[in-house]
């Protein structure tokens, strides 16, 4: 048996937690349904792993998707999927928690269940199977995968798990059935038990009603979030993988949520309100984490790092402890302005790697529609300052297929690239460092639940490709076309992501059929095969465009409407209307947008109001 990177499956990493399986009460296996190097880079699992393992009677272990080479061996030799720590079968655990970070991992979820020997459908499981619980951003529309889960947890994991584990212990000790436990769990805040909810449909295929089938279960399930944001535990001794993971560094979470209100961004809506961690806490923590891991790099984690109130203070401290030890500081998600560039030149010293800007759209009209809140002037000034600071490589990220998009908006991507190039050549020749290199890439816009664009129609594959070709042709017409490289995402994967993002419970049959047809690792372009899915839709009689291409009325009952994500539907409708009018909404620090998050009594909503 010759496997690629056996290190993926052996566990035993530094800071991994080992316990005696006989002396713990609850075994919780946490899964990120993708390959180890991706899964190990996920902060959320490290947070929950730490939280659970601090409970003396709980052992939290990990499992990731076996790579296709091991998958094959396991099926041929009937080896059940095992967790990394104890190397015992996943099926023997009490809980299997699966984090749902992107829709294209859904077939990998089925692989995990299948290889574990756990029936794919919640209703087929018995007392011998673990309780399968899902969480993470995709749980905000759990319906397409509802039948594969016993429970979903809506919100931030730190909050409700202790109560769920207590309930489990109590019911197990009383020898209550699996079903009795699930029903009672469904009464806990933030917990959804899909098998006890039923959907009915109108003749046109839209949802007619959605309600619990058992009395006592809530009609509406509200997300749970941490409001004592400085008080919650954080993994100060995270696991250090042997393999080089995607995040091969200390990850310091500085804040959660975002004030910006970009209308396409689901994270910006569901993690509201913005909550910051105190500077003193962060500096102490950064130091301890570096000591506990030995990493040679530290990165700040947040949706928009520039918005952290005392970023300057934090960075000055990090620079003071990192410089002499040769530890790098990496700063993702910075907005491109004078301040950020100053910060970047401080931390990056001489190494001028490429700069990444995310204008998201090529024209002001389009950026106003999505509420990106930056002007062309901001972009060009930012680029100009970067060029004067010695950078000559720029990456620009765009989206194609945004609501109300016109051909001018599409061509605008090429025009903006050209303007950035021109800005470079405004610098006196002696100050330039060689030629400018611009890499523009566009993804195809996928409308997500709980965003103002949740009602928007999505383009079909051919529309996306036509638009990408318009950009490509327009780039070729530009004076500096030789300096501009343009790439775009896979249109078929994007449309599929659209189906899974806004699908209803009926889509589950297609996911299962696609998996049976061989779909796995769909987010990896080298493994994605469109036929697996086309056949699956045909076999199950599902029209993917019903879920993507149709414009939904704001009156329509949406499959995820039974969840309360914190922002109100009224707010989302208002933002959808403003988007269509191209009206910008100010960020949370400029003016309250009335999104509904005030009810959490904290975070940015109450800044300066104590």
């Amino acid at each position: 048996m010759k496997l690629d990177k056996p290190e993926r499956y052996i566990g035993h990493e530094f800071n991994a937690v080992m316990k005696d399986p006989e002396s713990v009460d609850i075994r919780f296996v946490m899964c990120f349904p993708d390959v180890y190097e991706i899964g190990m880079s996920h902060l959320g699992i490290q947070i929950l792993y730490d939280l659970f393992n601090k409970m003396p009677d709980v052992w939290c272990e990990r499992v990731y998707s076996p790579w296709p080479d091991l998958d094959k061996v396991m099926r041929e030799q009937h080896i059940p999927l095992f967790s990394l720590e104890s190397q015992r079968p996943v099926r023997d655990a009490d809980f299997l928690g699966i984090t749902l970070q992107y829709e294209m991992s859904y077939t990998n979820v089925l692989q995990i269940l299948d290889l574990s020997g756990i029936p794919l459908h919640s209703t087929d499981r018995t007392g011998d199977d673990p309780i399968v619980i899902g969480g993470g951003p995709c749980a905000y529309n759990p319906e397409p995968i509802a039948e594969f889960f016993d429970l979903f947890y809506i919100g931030e994991g730190e909050v409700a798990y202790p109560a769920l584990l207590d309930l489990y212990r109590e019911f197990r000790d009383k020898k209550k059935s699996r079903e009795e436990f699930l029903i009672e769990a469904g009464k806990l805040p933030g917990i959804y038990v899909p098998r006890y909810y039923e959907a009915a449909y109108n003749e046109d295929g839209t949802l007619a009603s959605f309600a619990p089938t058992i009395s006592g279960l809530p009609e509406k399930i509200a997300k749970q979030i941490v409001m004592d944001f400085n008080g919650i535990p954080y993994p100060e001794a995270p696991i250090v993988p042997y393999l080089k993971a995607a995040q091969d560094r200390v990850v310091l979470e500085i804040q959660r949520g975002c004030i910006r209100g970009c209308r396409f961004c689901q994270a910006g809506m569901i993690y509201r309100p913005l909550r910051e961690k105190e500077l003193d806490l962060l500096t102490e923590r950064a130091k301890r984490m570096l000591e506990n891991t030995g990493y040679e790099e530290i990165s700040l984690s947040s949706l928009s790092s520039s918005d952290y109130a005392d970023l300057d203070g934090l960075l000055n401290y990090l620079i003071s402890i990192c410089r002499e030890k040769g530890i790098n500081i990496s700063l993702p998600s910075l907005r491109i302005d004078a301040f950020s560039l100053d910060v970047m030149s401080k931390v990056q010293d001489v190494k001028k790697s490429s700069l990444t800007f995310a204008p998201e759209a090529g024209t002001q009209h389009m950026r106003d529609v999505i509420n990106k809140g930056i002007t062309e002037e901001d972009i060009l000034n930012g680029a100009g300052q970067a060029f004067e600071g010695g950078w000559n490589k720029v990456k620009l990220y765009f989206m194609l297929g945004l609501p109300t998009e016109t051909e001018d908006d599409v061509k605008g991507i090429a025009h903006l690239c050209q303007k950035v190039a021109e800005r470079y050549y405004e610098i006196p020749k002696e100050k330039r460092v060689g030629k400018i290199s611009i890499t523009a890439s566009s993804s195809f816009f996928v409308p997500k639940p709980f965003t103002p664009f949740q009602w928007a129609p999505m383009d079909k594959e051919q529309d996306f490709l036509d638009k990408a070709h318009i950009v490509k042709d327009e780039v070729r017409r530009m004076e500096n076309q030789k300096s501009i490289r343009y790439t775009y995402h896979d249109a078929q994967i994007s449309v599929l992501e659209g189906v899974l993002a806004r699908g209803d419970r009926r889509v589950g049959a297609a996911i299962e059929a696609a998996y049976r047809n061989g779909a796995l690792f769909d987010s990896w372009t080298e493994f994605f095969k469109a036929e697996n899915w086309q056949n699956a839709f045909a076999e199950t009689g599902i029209d993917p465009y019903f879920y993507t291409a149709r414009e939904r009325s704001t009156e329509e009952l949406l499959p995820w409407d039974f969840l309360d994500c914190g922002v109100t539907k009224r707010f989302l409708i208002r933002e959808w209307e403003r988007a269509k009018e191209g009206v910008v909404t100010p960020n949370c620090r400029q003016m309250c947008q009335g999104c509904g998050s005030l009810r959490y009594h904290g975070g940015v909503c109450y800044e300066g109001k104590n």
Partner: protein, 242 residues
């Protein structure tokens, strides 16, 4: 100060590849707050070199790397501080001060390595399933051959090579376990898998590397003179700092 660290690699972490083992020790050195000299340049990195990479899946009780320290530390302190940062299966056995010259580098010095090879019981070829005394006799006649030619793969090519001069010791220890002391280093590097394979072929059978459990006992330098071999463990060439 240049230090040579000797460590073991057993248990599940035998599956960690060479580069990842190096990354593991870089992080462990940071955790242990051992002041390692960083290279100059755009991306400073630790100056460390391993004597001889160990293949994935093989275990060892005698691995070595050399590392540049910014200041002198006692051997005891280096060993203790590192051992506080190890995972199961990795233990630091010694730390000695070595010379600064290029010729003092572990990588340059490697001349031999000692292995214990166990054939997995379920993979034992019938030709090797012999009584101990018969097997001893076969080994004797195997070694008495004027040459032992076998197809040997190197980085660049694959060619038939006489490996007999590189086998310093080869014996049977019972229970499918063989002991080999072989030439090692950048030029005449002989893997124990190949010796067992040559022996199996000599007996009229064959065996694959996957059927073997290979454990490296130690790595040696040759301090002999006038063509006389005198193999000493690599950490014998350093000085213990009290």
């Amino acid at each position: 100060m240049k230090a040579r660290i000797k460590f073991t690699k057993t248990g599940p972490i035998k599956y960690i590849g060479h580069l990842d083992t190096m990354r593991y020790f870089q992080k462990a050195l940071r955790r242990a707050a051992i002041p390692v000299t960083l290279s100059e340049g755009f991306s400073p990195h630790m100056l460390m070199s391993f004597a001889s990479p160990l293949g994935v899946g093989k275990t060892s009780s005698g691995e070595y790397f050399d590392v540049d320290l910014k200041e002198e530390m006692t051997s005891r302190e280096i060993v203790d501080r590192l051992n506080a940062q190890m995972v199961e299966g990795v233990e630091v056995l010694s730390a000695v001060k070595i010379g600064e010259k290029k010729a003092d580098k572990g990588m340059t010095l490697v001349a031999g390595a000692d292995y214990t090879v166990t054939i997995r019981a379920d993979k034992l070829p019938s030709v090797m399933n012999l009584a101990d005394d018969i097997l001893q006799e076969k080994i004797r006649s195997f070694l008495e051959q004027p040459e032992i030619r076998i197809l040997r793969k190197t980085k660049r090519k694959e060619e038939e090579t006489d490996i007999r001069p590189w086998i310093y010791e080869f014996s049977y220890e019972g229970e499918n376990r063989y002991h080999c002391l072989l030439s090692a280093g950048s030029v005449q590097n002989l893997k124990p898998d190949l010796v067992i394979k040559a022996f199996a072929l000599y007996l009229g059978g064959d065996i694959e590397p996957a059927d073997l459990l290979i454990h490296r006992n130690d790595i040696f330098a040759d301090t002999g003179e006038d063509g006389k071999r005198n193999l000493v463990p690599l950490d014998a060439l350093g000085e213990v700092i009290e």
